[in-house]
Symmetry: C2
Subunit: 571 residues, 2 copies
């Protein structure tokens, strides 16, 4: 802040003619544009567009082509609609001149991918393909390529492929190659006709700039690309399926641009669509979690950001490539250029509490919440926070949706232990919260034990912003201070920050992400400090979690997997 | 039945002048008398009296003397009121002549005990003692003598007392000696003034007959008495507390009468109270669970009866005294004269489901049950029985209230494993039911492994009578047929059966319990048969239960105990 004031005192022109950037954040249900003041990071205007087609998981837009189980598709036209509506709206709302918008950045869920022709036209825009589900966007949570992922992992393991260790030993069914392979298997004509399989974030950037620029973040985290080694070998792809042998050369871009680079400038067509001026700088596409890092002012190694929502994504910065067992990925330039970006995650955080509220909260509590006009989570929190640490006698394993990091095992399941006839709903609720905090501590410890030190903890997302009770538990369990994003649109702010870098200093932006993040990134003044007496008890409870984590997670007792087998046979 | 018809054909007098006996069953909240036809076991009339003082766990009857935590007292006057009201009522309702009532039997919860003077007058009937909680009846579930029980077990273990192995290694705080010791510690004047500490069942029999006759069942199962070795030694009692050295000689009856023996006859005073004739035979006092055995026609070794309610009590018959790890007790003549009676138990059965319904059933289910006019258990059962065996992927340990048998450890707690975001309330409900069935199978296997074969399975109590879904699960899990008591007043019927034996053949009764049980005991025609395909899956699930049972219950991971310690410190 001091630097910033100095800068203001220096009488730079930005006081006279303020400059802005726009960040556009594409989520699962909607896209949102945020117009940000470059000098301060202040969010001037926000506009949200709900996707007209939403998430297609039952039918195609024709309303009659039924989708198979675990499909989750989107329509690329929705992404264009977001640009066409939200950008003019924020400019209008902010009452500024479009020429003062010096840059735009895009972030997206990932891996969200689509097949296009050689000009970037989505295959689903063609009449001859639009009845085929595989011509549409496959959303990150399209889970129908699990068979392909399983086979890919098996083959990679048999071949001793080195890349596996960069992804905690497993490639997820959510990622690019399994999704492409599924297209080949189920719709070989779509596979054949596709000139490109693109990340949606790159596709939107392409629509703005007229040039294709693949970003290092999704290439690295979702497409098995590595700065040193590139994509997996032809031999590997051939081992998957002879028809995939030339996938990389034929259908993937091999020009990978680091996060923070400039993708290009707004074309005439894009200017017509968005109301931005031709020539406005456009940043390389990014991913919602990763783009958030500079939005909290984080640009150095040793810092971890938790993006906490239905699930939690942990992104952190390091100076060296280390192999951390069970991480989601490590990518050079994947988050901040010049640093190694690490990713880890927990599959079930907010979802955990939603499950609890839908399935386990008694009518007496629901009634009390209604009578007092409280959200049920508020009531449960009120009751849960009256409990002393350890008072419930409960400990849970947070694997209701499998384990994404450290163990990387979707077949693990949830457990709760310590129940008595006096156990109350709020005690279980609290135990589930604590379990997710233990899971985070386990991830932190695993990184530290493997040479990636984590000295500072940050959080963003709905839970971080709203749930003080939970954040204090995280601080107590990890024994670390936790700083919270000051923005409620953290990813969009992050995209706007990158936009200010690619616009450059001459245009009123910044020279580097470090500088931009310093002025535009922000955390709340209030932060969470561990309470020593809680830390003491949580350390004991975490020890118990850890024993159970290893007992059930590392093969001593594979009961969870055996139960899943029995379950599958029962159905 | 054939024998019975033959008997009827022989033209015995019982057709002309039917004979009856009365069984009086003293429960936790009320007492009930059932008048039974001796020839057939047909229940002619029933009367229930709710105890005016109920369970006193907050205040004495004066309404101002506050009781300490875990106290559960009763007033002996309530027991007399039961006799005075229910016996005349059943005679009247049956429209019979009291002279045709040839015997009466009493059964009770146990250990339910009280201090009396040398004439059997309860100390709480004295003005000088009635303000002292320790002068009242301590109900079976009075749990305030846990400290005494812990110390007793420690000392017994240190001294290598042989009797421990007859009780699965542990004396419960619910039993006689800890309760007496608590009186000595907290009210030495009451201890001093008491000439006798009596089981309530013996006390009621005393009121009817004017003579004190201690029964072998409560002496054996609840007072550490053994037919060969008697009570523990003076040295042992002295080691507990020098003032207890002469407890046995001074304050306990050492004349122990086997179950099935005659205690005496109705006195003039008792005749005035009950309307029975002077001289009517009275059976030795008995315990509700144990007295139920002949009510199902069970009088032979190799049979186990489960009395299933809030908790389950397993009683079974054997021909030899075997040491079974973790049984509740083995007593010669304790159930059927001439046989060894074994007892085991599960602390949390119906209570388990009540806990679930109160704490874990969502409002949507409660509403559906209301709208359809269903009890919530009926709704949950309806949903749960649609599931295939193993479909939930869940397995639970039924230790919400500790483990009473096999492990004998109150500090064990409940666990559920296999939860996912798709886990539904009915799946958890079913998993809890299954867990109690696994617990029963574990008890059966433990007995069999230790030389007490169990060839036939029987059940009585509210759950056995009403819950077909649960009983089928028990049959499938144990892979045994299960026969159900045909009486909804099984203990009272059992008492009436013993009454017919002590009345004797000359009076129109029977010569032996075997004969009486054959004519008067009864099971429903319908019984449960294991379904082979369910048995197959349950065998796999039980294997998982077993692994977890031993892992958490036998010291490999004492997390449950450590959590209890942390919990105690947190409070």
């Amino acid at each position: 802040m001091k630097n910033h004031l100095n800068k203001l005192k220096e009488g730079k022109s930005l006081m006279i003619n303020k400059k802005y950037t726009i960040g556009v954040d594409y989520g699962t249900q909607s896209g949102r544009a945020v117009l940000v003041e470059v000098a301060t990071g202040k969010e001037i205007a926000t506009a949200v567009k709900i996707y007209p087609h939403g998430v297609m998981d039952e039918y195609l837009p024709d309303g009659k082509t039924k989708l198979k189980q675990d499909f989750a598709l989107q329509h690329p036209q929705d992404y264009l609609d977001v640009l066409a509506e939200t950008i003019p709206e924020v400019i209008k709302e902010a009452k500024i001149n479009p020429e003062d918008v010096i840059g735009i950045g895009i972030d997206f869920t990932a891996c969200t991918m689509l097949p296009t022709d050689s000009k970037g036209k989505p295959l689903c825009f063609y009449d001859e393909y639009k009845a085929n589900p595989h011509s549409y966007v496959k959303l990150w949570k399209h889970h129908a390529a699990q068979d392909e992922a399983n086979r890919l992992n098996k083959i990679a393991e048999e071949r001793g492929e080195d890349f596996l260790k960069l992804y905690g030993g497993k490639i997820s069914s959510e990622w690019l190659i399994p999704k492409i392979w599924q297209i080949l298997n189920e719709a070989p004509d779509i596979y054949e006709s596709a000139d490109r399989f693109m990340e949606a974030t790159d596709w939107v950037v392409y629509q703005l700039t007229g040039v294709e620029r693949r970003n290092s973040c999704t290439a690295g985290y979702k497409a098995i690309w590595n700065k040193q080694n590139g994509y997996p070998s032809k031999e590997f792809f051939k081992a998957l399926d002879p028809r995939l042998e030339n996938l990389v050369e034929d259908k993937l871009s091999t020009d990978i641009y680091p996060i923070g680079a400039k993708a290009g400038e707004i074309t005439e067509k894009a200017a017509a669509l968005t109301g931005l001026l031709v020539g406005t700088a456009v940043a390389i596409g990014n991913v919602d979690a990763h783009v958030s890092v500079p939005a909290l002012g984080m640009t150095e190694a040793g810092k971890m950001l938790m993006i906490m929502g239905t699930s939690t994504c942990h992104v952190m910065l390091g100076t060296e490539e280390k192999i951390v067992p069970g991480m989601c990925g490590v990518v050079e330039d994947g988050i901040i250029p010049g640093l190694l970006g690490y990713e880890a995650g927990q599959s079930c955080v907010g979802d955990h509490f939603e499950w609890f509220v839908e399935n386990c909260v008694p009518a007496t509590y629901t009634r009390e919440a209604e009578e007092r006009g409280l959200d049920i989570h508020v009531l449960l929190t009120e009751k849960a926070q009256k409990l002393a640490v350890g008072e419930s006698g409960l400990v849970a394993l947070d694997w209701w949706n499998g384990n994404r990091s450290v163990l990387v095992d979707v077949d693990l399941t949830g457990m709760i232990l310590g129940c008595t006839l006096l156990t109350k709903p709020e005690e279980i609720y609290r135990a589930l919260i604590e379990a997710t905090a233990y899971g985070t501590r386990k991830i932190i410890e695993t990184f530290e034990e493997n040479g990636v030190p984590i000295e500072e903890l940050y959080a963003a997302g709905g839970i971080a912003e709203k749930n003080k009770f939970m954040m204090q538990i995280y601080s107590d369990v990890t024994n670390m201070e936790i700083r919270i994003s000051a923005s409620s649109q953290t990813p969009a702010l992050g995209s706007a920050i990158f936009a200010s870098v690619v616009a450059g200093k001459d245009k009123g932006g910044y020279d580097s992400i470090v500088e931009a993040a310093k002025y535009m990134g922000k955390v709340k003044e209030e932060f969470y400090k561990p309470i020593p007496k809680n830390v003491e008890v949580y350390t004991k409870l975490y020890d118990e979690y850890n024993i159970l984590h290893d007992y059930f997670g590392r093969g001593a007792n594979d009961v969870m997997k055996r139960l899943k087998t029995i379950k599958a046979q029962a159905k």
